[in-house]
Structures are given as structure tokens and as C-alpha cells.
């Protein structure tokens, strides 16, 4: 075998191996999207009921609570950024990080100090490499988040919000995650969780439903105190689940194009290998023919 042909053969072998891996990753991601979507759907009833309850308390009572009232001069805002633990998902993590950077800039422009919390190894690596300070970070569960994970991430955030601003607390709480629209579309979005913007919660409910006057047990303040941390947790849980679904969808797409690319590469390489083999054969034939005719010429000459 000629040297050229051997090189092509080797490259085809290596690209075939890569293609097998990307194909496997694509199929794993595809099966996980379905599971992640099912989880999002399963968590929806809790989230809607909770939102309804929060809206009911916030509109149905005259209670003033630090978590529902806007500070007159908000000085500090917290951002929770959700990225992935693993790469090979196209622009998934970097798009979410970009959205967080944009939000940070906007908040700074409004004269607020920004405190960043990050979920996912990719985001931690991004901030670590630039030596920017993170208030807190969590890793290791972005593939399939559980409610306990959301609770763990929510705890310091709730604590920061309830603290006085002068003592290092925050006035606003934002979350940046990748919204799962469909298999093909995922958008990085930023959302303000606290203070509650009641217009937004009303719009979600739609239909301008008139909420009845509730009887609070034991009291409106106590209910709100208990309700709001759960509300934050459930919002974070929902965001984590959507982000997980988006991550798998982004990975599936990235791996699909990698597989397609590998297929294309194998096709081109085998064409080249075929040409090289044919050239080798042609050369061998012409060498034999040339050799034979040289021999024939030589014997014809010696006969004389």
C-alpha cells in the first residue's frame, strides 16, 4: 500500500471512531430531553398553584413584607446564573453567561451593586478564569436537578434578600437561565424574582380572574412568610428543570451537526483514498507495461 493511501485510511478510521461517539452522545441527549420535559411538566401544577396563592396573599391583604415591596433606593442586586456542568453543548453555556453579563451591565448602569451566584461548572470556570468574585456556586446536578438541589441554592439567596441592605443584604433577586421553547429553540432569559412584580403574575393567570377574599390561617404575615421562600424555591426549581431540558437539546443539536460533519468528512476522505488507490494501480500497470516493453526492446535488439 502506498504511503498516501495509508494516511487516508488512517484518517478515515479515526473520523469513524469520532462519529460513533458523537452519534451515541446525540442519542443519549435526545432520550434525556424527553425525560427532562416530563419533569418540567410534572413540576408545573405546584408552580401554578403556588403562584396563585402568592398572588392571592399579595393582592388580598394590605400586608407589607420585605419580599413584596420595592426598596426606595435599591443599592444591591443578586443574580443567579444557571449554566451547565459539561461542555459539548454548542453555545448553551456561553449564551447564558452572555445574558448574565448584559444584565449585570444594565443593573450597574442603574447604580446597583451586583452580587453573582452561579450554578454549573462552566459558569464557575468562566468567572474563576477572569478572577471575578462569586458570592456562592453549586455544581454537579445540572443534568437532572432535584427539588433538594433547588432548595440548597435558594437558601442563601433568601437569606440575602431578608437581610438589611446595610448589613450586606440585597434588594433585588434576578435569575438568568435558558428557557426551553421547543426542541429547536432555547432562549437565554433574565427574570426578576423578587420583589414580586404583581402585574406579571396577573398576566400569567390571565382572564383577569377576581380572587376571593381569603381567610388567612394563622395570619396574612405568617402565611406570606412561609409562602415566599417556597415560591423562590419553586421558581428556581422550574428554572433548573428548563435549563436541564435546554442543555440536553443544545447538546443533541451540537452532536447532530458533529455527526453530520464526520459523515461528510468520511465521504470526502474515501473519495480521495479511492483516487489514490486508482493512481497507485495505474502507476503499477504503467510500470509493468513500461518494463515489459523495455525487456521486449532489449531482447529484440540482442536477437540481431
Amino acid at each position: 500500500m502506498g504511503a498516501q493511501l495509508r494516511v487516508y485510511k488512517r484518517r478515515i478510521r479515526s473520523v469513524t471512531a469520532t462519529k460513533k461517539i458523537t452519534k451515541a452522545m446525540e442519542m443519549i441527549a435526545a432520550s434525556r430531553i424527553v425525560k427532562a420535559q416530563r419533569q418540567v411538566a410534572a413540576s408545573t401544577p405546584y408552580a401554578t398553584e403556588l403562584t396563585r396563592a402568592v398572588t392571592a396573599v399579595a393582592t388580598g391583604s394590605t400586608t407589607k413584607h420585605p419580599l413584596t415591596t420595592e426598596a426606595e433606593t435599591p443599592a444591591r442586586a443578586a443574580i443567579l446564573l444557571i449554566t451547565s456542568d459539561r461542555g459539548l453543548a454548542g453555545g448553551y453555556s456561553s449564551n447564558a453567561i452572555k445574558a448574565a453579563e448584559k444584565l449585570t451591565e444594565r443593573l450597574r448602569g442603574e447604580g446597583k451593586e451586583v452580587v453573582t451566584y452561579v450554578i454549573g461548572r462552566k459558569g464557575v470556570a468562566y468567572y474563576g478564569f477572569r478572577e471575578r468574585k462569586l458570592a456562592d456556586s453549586w455544581t454537579g446536578f445540572t443534568d437532572s436537578p432535584t427539588y433538594a438541589d433547588a432548595k440548597r441554592a435558594a437558601a442563601p439567596l433568601i437569606e440575602a434578600v431578608t437581610q438589611e441592605t446595610a448589613e450586606g443584604g440585597v434588594d433585588e433577586l434576578h435569575i438568568v437561565f435558558t428557557e426551553f421553547v421547543s426542541m429547536m429553540t432555547q432562549n437565554p432569559v433574565d427574570d426578576r424574582m423578587l420583589p414580586l412584580s404583581l402585574d406579571a403574575t396577573k398576566d400569567e393567570d390571565g382572564k383577569g380572574e377576581i380572587l376571593p377574599l381569603f381567610d388567612f390561617e394563622p395570619s396574612a404575615e405568617d402565611v406570606l412568610d412561609a409562602l415566599l421562600p417556597r415560591y423562590v424555591e419553586s421558581r428556581i426549581y422550574n428554572a433548573l428543570l428548563q435549563a436541564a431540558a435546554s442543555e440536553h437539546a443544545a447538546r443533541r443539536r451540537a452532536m447532530k451537526s458533529a455527526t453530520d460533519n464526520a459523515g461528510e468528512l468520511i465521504k470526502t476522505l474515501s473519495r480521495l483514498a479511492n483516487a489514490a488507490r486508482q493512481a497507485e494501480i495505474t502507476q503499477e500497470i504503467s510500470e509493468i507495461v513500461g518494463g515489459a516493453s523495455a525487456l521486449a526492446d532489449a531482447t529484440a535488439g540482442s536477437d540481431k
Binding site: 410534572a42 405546584y46 396563592a53 376571593p212 381567610d215 390561617e217 394563622p218
Partner: protein
């Protein structure tokens, strides 16, 4: 046919039970409360404990609820809990083992969780 109320028992990650009922008894922070159709709109904080639902066909559904909320309006009742289990789903032996383990580890939270589970099974 007596009036009915629609009950949704939802945990953070799934819907546990939903259906029509004539009476729901739950434990709020200020004591046990029974809700029947036509009750005044109510929003309360739940204690960990068993919730008893009398369904419209006379059967009784018991669930262990670990914290959460009860909200009632327009004959629709929602029970929201981070963790909720139907008594039928609870594995008694496992709960007993968990209780013993929690007692030896003096883990108050999981001890109470296990106790609530066992109480729910006992009520059933």
C-alpha cells in the same frame, strides 16, 4: 347528591392525587381544620402530618404531608407540599427503619418525617 369540592394534592415534583371529595381534614399551624364544600376562602400554613380526604364515593384517602399550604376557594381545594405521599405508597418497614436510624443519629427533621409517615399509615 351532596355538594363536592375538587381536591388537588400536589408535591413539588408531581401531582399526587386529585379528585372530588366531601371533606378534607388537615393540620395547620394553629390546629386541625376540616374543610367542606362552601367553606369560606382559606389560605393556611400546614404542619407536617396526615391529611385525610373523604372522597365523594365514601372512600378515605390518607396522605403524609411534610409542610406546605392549604388553599381553598370556589369549592376548589389545593394542598401544596414539598413532599407528599399517599399512605398506600408508604413502605411501613422502610419508614420504621428510617425512624430508628433517625433516632440513633438524633436527626430531628428526618425523625419527624418518618413519624408522620407512620402516623399516616396508622390512620389508614
Amino acid at each position: 347528591m351532596a355538594a363536592e369540592l375538587h381536591v388537588e394534592l400536589v408535591a413539588a415534583d408531581r401531582s399526587v392525587w386529585s379528585g372530588e371529595a366531601t371533606l378534607v381534614v388537615a393540620r395547620t399551624t394553629s390546629g386541625d381544620i376540616g374543610v367542606m364544600p362552601g367553606h369560606q376562602p382559606l389560605l393556611g400554613v400546614l404542619e407536617s402530618g396526615p391529611v385525610t380526604i373523604r372522597t365523594s364515593d365514601g372512600a378515605t384517602v390518607v396522605a403524609a404531608v411534610h409542610g406546605g399550604f392549604i388553599s381553598f376557594a370556589d369549592d376548589k381545594l389545593s394542598l401544596l407540599a414539598e413532599i407528599a405521599e399517599l399512605a398506600d405508597e408508604i413502605d411501613v418497614q422502610r419508614a420504621e427503619r428510617a425512624l430508628e436510624r433517625a433516632k440513633s443519629d438524633t436527626d430531628a427533621a428526618s425523625e419527624r418525617r418518618a413519624e408522620v409517615r407512620l402516623r399516616a399509615v396508622a390512620v389508614r
